[in-house]
């Protein structure tokens, strides 16, 4: 935490993808990096970055967003996995929609603000988990029949694509996070995960993790 944000290296670790998923969706990937941080309200420097971002993203950018390569790749992937990106918006589209609705990117907390900045800047989907509540490496797989999901009474439908560690599902892909696995008050280390799909270069995942990491260290 002592070095300057721009001197920091993301050092992303590639996650695993189950063979069944890899065969169906070539290009699907996940990369993670662990970051030491504090939770709570964002510092003024981070809020300032959000304000700058709000000034740069307006109506024209929002209209043209879905034609840009990375947001388009996520829209296509949403269609491929049965989601309608106009109902369940892709992460970047959801953030830009909120920017249009609220008139600015609203500051929520340090981690969410860092994710907002990185997602809007690069277009890549990011998720955050509590490192101390994750066992082993993180990857993507299909849920099994009757698999439990923390915070949900009924089991997950079989075949749901989930982000998982080596023991359990941590969250539904582009959906909710399992209860107790996300970042909470008092979390000391955050596992930032970038999800890549076909059409999103690996360098974009690395860049998104770097931007989120440097924002967290602002």
């Amino acid at each position: 935490m002592n070095d300057r944000p721009e001197d920091w290296e993301a050092a992303p670790e590639p996650g695993w993808v189950a063979p069944a998923l890899m065969e169906e969706f070539p290009g699907l990937s996940i990369a993670t990096t662990a970051l030491e941080t504090t939770t709570g309200r964002s510092p003024e420097a981070l809020k300032e970055r959000l304000r700058d971002l709000s000034d740069r993203i307006g109506g024209p950018q929002a209209i043209q967003l879905r034609q840009k390569p990375i947001p388009w790749a996520y829209r296509v992937f949403f269609r491929h996995i049965g989601l309608d990106p106009d109902t369940d918006r892709t992460p970047v589209e959801q953030l830009v929609f909120e920017r249009m609705h609220d008139g600015r990117f609203t500051s929520r907390n340090r981690v969410d603000d860092a994710i907002t900045i990185a997602t809007v800047e690069v277009g890549v989907a990011l998720r955050a988990f509590d490192v101390d509540r994750v066992s082993g490496r993180v990857g993507l797989r299909l849920s099994e029949k009757g698999e439990a999901f923390e915070g949900r009474v009924a089991p997950l439908p079989a075949g749901t694509i989930v982000i998982a560690d080596e023991e359990r599902a941590l969250g539904v892909l582009f959906g909710r996070t399992a209860e107790g696995r996300g970042v909470r008050r008092g979390t000391k280390r955050v596992l930032m995960a970038a999800i890549g799909v076909r059409g999103v270069p690996d360098i974009a995942l690395e860049e998104a993790l770097w931007v989120a990491g440097s924002a967290l260290r602002a």
Binding site: R75, V76, H80, I81, G82, D84, D86
Partner: protein
């Protein structure tokens, strides 16, 4: 001759198949690999088609702006999961249908906008025949706040004398940031709520909505709403 051929039951094409149409079980060891491989190729092909159609829809979305009332949604099938061939076909067909509908809607808009452009020409040529008519940029499918308004020159005097002209206004309010709180905003909101006033946001921006276009009879521009289907 064709009838005779049809009556001949000894032709192999005419003889009803006796064996089942269900394909035989694949030999031991092959299991469903062969079939699965075929389906995977079909799914990959469908995904490519969906990607191309999604790009087409995105381009239409861009060109449709600032027109309102066009539906771009294509229902999802519940996910995230691996969709079957049938489901991917549904997504592809849904996208294709939506693209056709959006194109039809845009065509309707284009027809209306063209007639509004002609109205502007007629207004300019003969303002007195189009008293108080106002056409906005939005009515001709363009961005911005510009409008053409048939008004009398020199106010009431022009009205009495029949001196009419078309006034072109760029219309957009200057960007000044958020205004300070209005001390009597509650009173004004109450009056608007009771139906007696103009919406505050409209009044601030200097832009009135349809229905607040000024006094007098008018033959306004056509408004393409959500086209009926």
């Amino acid at each position: 001759m064709p009838e005779e051929l049809l009556e001949r039951t000894d032709l192999p094409e005419v003889i009803a198949p006796e064996e089942s149409l269900v394909p035989p079980v694949p030999p031991e060891g092959l299991d469903t690999v062969l079939y699965e491989h075929d389906e995977r190729a079909s799914r990959a092909d469908l995904r490519r088609q969906i990607a191309a159609l999604e790009l087409l829809l995105a381009r239409l979305f861009d060109s449709a702006f600032p027109r309102k009332g066009i539906e771009f949604k294509v229902a999802g099938l519940g996910g995230p999961r691996v969709l079957s061939v049938d489901e991917l076909e549904k997504v592809r067909d849904g996208l294709f249908t939506r693209i056709q509908e959006v194109r039809a809607d845009l065509h309707e808009f284009a027809v209306t906008e063209e007639s509004n452009r002609e109205l502007i020409e007629r207004m300019t040529a003969d303002p007195a025949a189009h008293k108080w008519v106002r056409v906005y940029n939005e009515d001709i499918g363009e961005r911005g706040c510009k409008n053409w308004h048939a008004t009398p020159k020199w106010g009431p005097l022009g009205m009495l004398m029949g001196w009419w002209r078309v006034k072109i206004s760029s219309g957009c309010p200057l960007a000044k940031g958020q205004p300070p709180p209005d001390p009597d905003r509650w009173r004004r909101r109450d009056s608007a709520a009771s139906g007696g006033g103009v919406r505050l946001s409209d009044a601030r921006s200097g832009r009135l909505r349809p229905g607040h276009r000024g006094p007098g009879p008018m033959t306004g521009p056509q408004r393409p709403g959500a086209p009926s289907r």
